[in-house]
């Protein structure tokens, strides 16, 4: 049941919202939490009921281990917990990849593992690993089972993130006196859902055939210069709108229940450096990698060599988290390399220099191009495809340039306009703080800057301008969903 499927949009979501509202209003918000947990588990089980026991087992074991850690501060319990979680992830996600590589190296056939990857295992495993580590480090407050269950299974973020942290979700679940519904919040929630749906079914799915066609061509030979760039750029935009669309929908759906999710996506292609890119793209994964991999490895505490080694290791693991394949590892490695170069550059750059407009745009374009090159490895089925596409992008194809279609150029130009020049959903609705922003921004107000509460007439004017556009894109999104019926396309991040 995808967020962009008719059964989700017309049955599950309205039914869950109404059920939650009814239970919360007539019984209690705590009962509403119970209802939401049950609905979330149903949502997970709807994909494949046979996988439901896995997530339930994972919740039970981790909750039990957490409880044991609260009462007995034992490293052994933490190690058991880590082994359990990483063991599950290792078995389901990486065993096949490992065996396949060992077979290749040794030239023998070991086993034909045909393991089905359980949906969202990477997401709920990371969330619970973070929880256990924080319990061990005395940085967590003991939750009750119901809240813990919802923390892991909360359906808006279950399938493709954000990777939520217990410290930001538990207080919200615990607060049974919170005002979970307001007209303004409801409007913003619907707006987020409409924007997200539009990004997914119109923009991401609309440009997908352009990318697919070129990557398919690359399996047979080196595509021409323009074709290669067209494919790489199309995928760059596809994954952007796919992930951004999912994230917006997740934020909107969570807001319907009065829950704010952490910010996960903040116009990453506007970044003027790779460091900034990783503060804007999949922000909760970056946070996890920083807090639970990079810093435990030593972070930047033992000199630059160690720092860069740690950085590379963290990014390689980040790549591997996305998928059990060498192309993902190379993608992670490339970003590790980019980060090292970026940090080294900052080391030599004069501290006082404040980049001008031209310098900022040059940096933005260079960062964007670096990201595009890395996406080629991320999308390609194997190295051969990726190298052939990059060869085409370098203009080394036998056929040379390929034919430029005005329609393709126009589509890509519109995509550039959107990702570089339009405000993102959070910026549009910053007055209601739709997401939990990362802490520690220099001004203490998060990455979006201080909350702006415009005077009422101005606020209304903004909504007068926004409402017709939001209604239109929401309707177009819904019409595409109804028309597509069963042919809903998966979200890219679902397979991670």
């Amino acid at each position: 049941m995808l967020f962009s499927s008719p059964e989700f949009l017309f049955l599950f979501l309205p039914a869950t919202f109404l059920g939650f509202a009814l239970v919360s209003a007539t019984v209690s918000l705590r009962a509403g939490t119970f209802f939401l947990s049950a609905a979330s588990l149903f949502f997970y089980g709807y994909w494949d009921a046979s996988l439901l026991p896995l997530i339930v087992l994972s919740i039970l074991v981790n909750f039990g281990l957490g409880k044991a850690l609260f009462s007995n501060h034992s490293k052994a319990i933490l190690v058991v917990g880590l082994c359990f979680n990483l063991g599950l992830l290792g078995y389901f996600k990486y065993a096949g990849f490992f065996v396949e590589n060992v077979e290749k190296v040794l030239g023998v056939e070991i086993a034909d593992l045909n393991i089905v990857l359980p949906l969202a295992i990477s997401f709920f495993t990371f969330q619970q690993v973070a929880y256990l580590v924080d319990v061990y480090k005395r940085r967590a407050i003991e939750p009750d089972f119901l809240n813990y269950c919802l923390f892991v299974s909360f359906f808006p973020q279950l399938i493709s993130g954000p990777i939520v942290h217990h410290s930001e979700m538990m207080p919200q679940f615990r607060d049974v006196a919170r005002k979970w519904f307001s007209r303004e919040l409801f409007f913003v929630a619907i707006a987020f859902i409409a924007i997200g749906l539009y990004k997914k079914v119109v923009l991401a799915n609309g440009i997908a055939p352009m990318a697919d066609g070129v990557f398919l061509t690359a399996q047979a030979g080196v595509p021409g210069f323009w074709d290669a760039w067209k494919g790489a750029l199309a995928y760059t935009f596809q994954i952007y709108f796919d992930f951004s669309g999912y994230t917006d929908m997740a934020v909107g759906i969570a807001l319907l229940f009065g829950i704010r999710l952490p910010m996960n996506f903040n116009s990453p292609y506007k970044s003027a450096s790779i460091i900034e890119f990783w503060r804007r793209w999949h922000m909760t994964l970056s946070r996890f990698i920083r807090d639970y991999i990079y810093i435990p490895l030593g972070g930047n505490r033992a000199g630059n060599t160690r720092r860069y080694t740690n950085m590379m290791l963290a990014m390689l693991i980040g790549g591997l988290w996305h998928g059990a394949g060498w192309t993902f590892i190379v993608w992670g490695g490339l970003h590790g390399l980019y980060l090292i170069i970026n940090h080294s550059w900052r080391h030599f750059r004069p501290k006082s220099a404040r980049p001008g407009l031209l310098a900022t745009w040059c940096s933005r374009v260079i960062t964007f191009l670096a990201v595009v090159v890395a996406w080629v490895f991320f999308r390609a089925d194997d190295f051969g495809d990726a190298i052939r596409l990059l060869t085409g992008m370098a203009g080394l194809a036998d056929g040379g340039l390929s034919v430029v279609r005005m329609h393709d150029l126009l589509v890509l130009a519109v995509m550039f306009l959107i990702v570089w020049f339009t405000p993102n959903s959070y910026e549009m609705f910053r007055s209601v703080r739709p997401v939990l922003e990362p802490k520690g921004a220099p001004d203490g107000d998060g990455v979006l800057g201080p909350a702006v509460t415009p005077s009422r007439p101005l606020l209304h004017l903004k909504y007068y301008a926004l409402t017709p556009v939001l209604i239109a894109i929401g309707l177009v999104g819904l019409l595409v969903v109804i028309d597509g019926g069963e042919k809903s396309q998966n979200f890219i991040y679902m397979i991670f």
């Binding site: 119109v202 923009l203 609309g206 894109i473 595409v480 028309d483």
Partner: protein, 350 residues
């Protein structure tokens, strides 16, 4: 004063935002569902040199119905005809199919048309030169094909009872008179008919196409729209009950053609025989019988699809659910009947 200004600003904002929203929606649909982009939809034009109705030469388009009945690719060859064969290679022993949208294969794949199926059944090369013309156009299409190099002798002409049987002499006379009288500028019509508006949107707006397609796919909504008269059903049949004068002129036209070619008429019955009111059906049946008899009387070979379709017990099953054209099974049936009826001379290559 301030309040008036604010209202004005709000109004202008809504108008501007709504305009932007409609524009965005239209182009969004063209991106997300390119098959609904009207630019890629099938269109015909009258070749100014020959007066023949043709498709755009060497083009690939889609034929798609917003009711979900069909969505097929249509490829026109260099002559503007929907045929993978090149008419320039047509020889005297080959068979030529001409007709309107039925023979053209409206809504079905090129390989599913009765001409293609007939080719498989008989082993004889069959050229399809149908577009969406009427009887006047068929003659032009045959002449056009001959000019391209085809040697035409055996022709199967599909005559559609709904709109092929007309008083062509009167039409010609009207055209001549119209040419002699200087045209005055017509008064602009204030009332735009719903049908005309729907047709305009259908051929110009991807958003409208998507909206009607999506809404139509919800059965309950569709039924309501039918009841309100916004959507027509197969029960609404215009034509198919020609007057005697129309029958006579059409038959004479066909007779004239049969003197130039070895002609077989495939008579496509109006669905008005089986749907709609009882009176209308009786009128359609009478017209069908009169026309068929007239053709026989003139000595023209006729393959009448009516008895064959009725013999199956459910003649409407050969039509699409929401479109009056034949489904692939209608084409298959027609091909089988034609193959059976062709004389040995027509069946075997000489």
């Amino acid at each position: 004063m301030m309040a008036v200004r604010l209202v004005l600003i709000r109004f202008m904002l809504i108008v501007a935002a709504s305009t932007l929203a409609i524009f965005m929606s239209e182009y969004s649909v063209r991106l997300a569902v390119p098959k609904y982009d009207p630019a890629g939809h099938i269109a015909f034009f009258v070749d100014p040199a020959t007066g023949v109705l043709l498709g755009k030469p060497n083009s690939k388009t889609r034929q798609i119905k917003n009711s979900g009945d069909y969505d097929v690719e249509v490829i026109f060859n260099r002559h503007g005809l929907r045929d993978k064969r090149d008419i320039a290679n047509g020889r005297v022993e080959d068979l030529y199919v001409v007709g309107d949208s039925f023979a053209f294969g409206w809504g079905v794949k090129e390989t599913e048309r009765f001409s293609s199926v007939l080719e498989k059944l008989t082993g004889r090369e069959v050229y399809n030169i149908a577009t969406t013309a009427n009887l006047d156009g068929y003659e032009r299409l045959l002449t056009y094909s001959a000019e391209q190099g085809a040697e035409i002798r055996d022709v199967v002409m599909a005559i559609n009872m709904i709109d092929d049987v007309r008083d062509y002499d009167a039409i010609l006379k009207t055209k001549k008179i119209a040419r002699q009288i200087p045209q005055s500028t017509p008064e602009p019509s204030v009332a735009i008919s719903l049908q005309a508006m729907k047709q305009f949107l259908l051929t110009n707006s991807a958003l409208y196409f998507l909206a009607t397609s999506a809404i139509g796919s919800i059965d309950v909504v569709r039924r309501v729209l039918v009841r309100l008269g916004f959507v027509k059903t197969l029960n609404d049949v215009n034509g198919g009950r020609p007057r005697d004068a129309e029958i006579r002129t059409t038959a004479n036209r066909i007779l004239a053609l049969s003197q130039k070619y070895n002609l077989t008429v495939l008579l496509i019955p109006s669905r008005g025989l089986w749907v709609g009111g009882h009176e209308a059906a009786a009128a359609a049946a009478a017209a069908h019988a009169t026309f068929s008899d007239e053709l026989h009387r003139l000595g023209i070979t006729v393959i009448d699809m009516r008895p064959v379709m009725e013999a199956t017990g459910n003649p409407m099953a050969f039509h699409f659910q929401h479109d009056g054209h034949w489904r692939p099974r209608g084409h298959s049936l027609a091909a089988e009947v034609i193959a059976d009826k062709l004389t040995p001379r027509q069946r075997l290559p000489e």
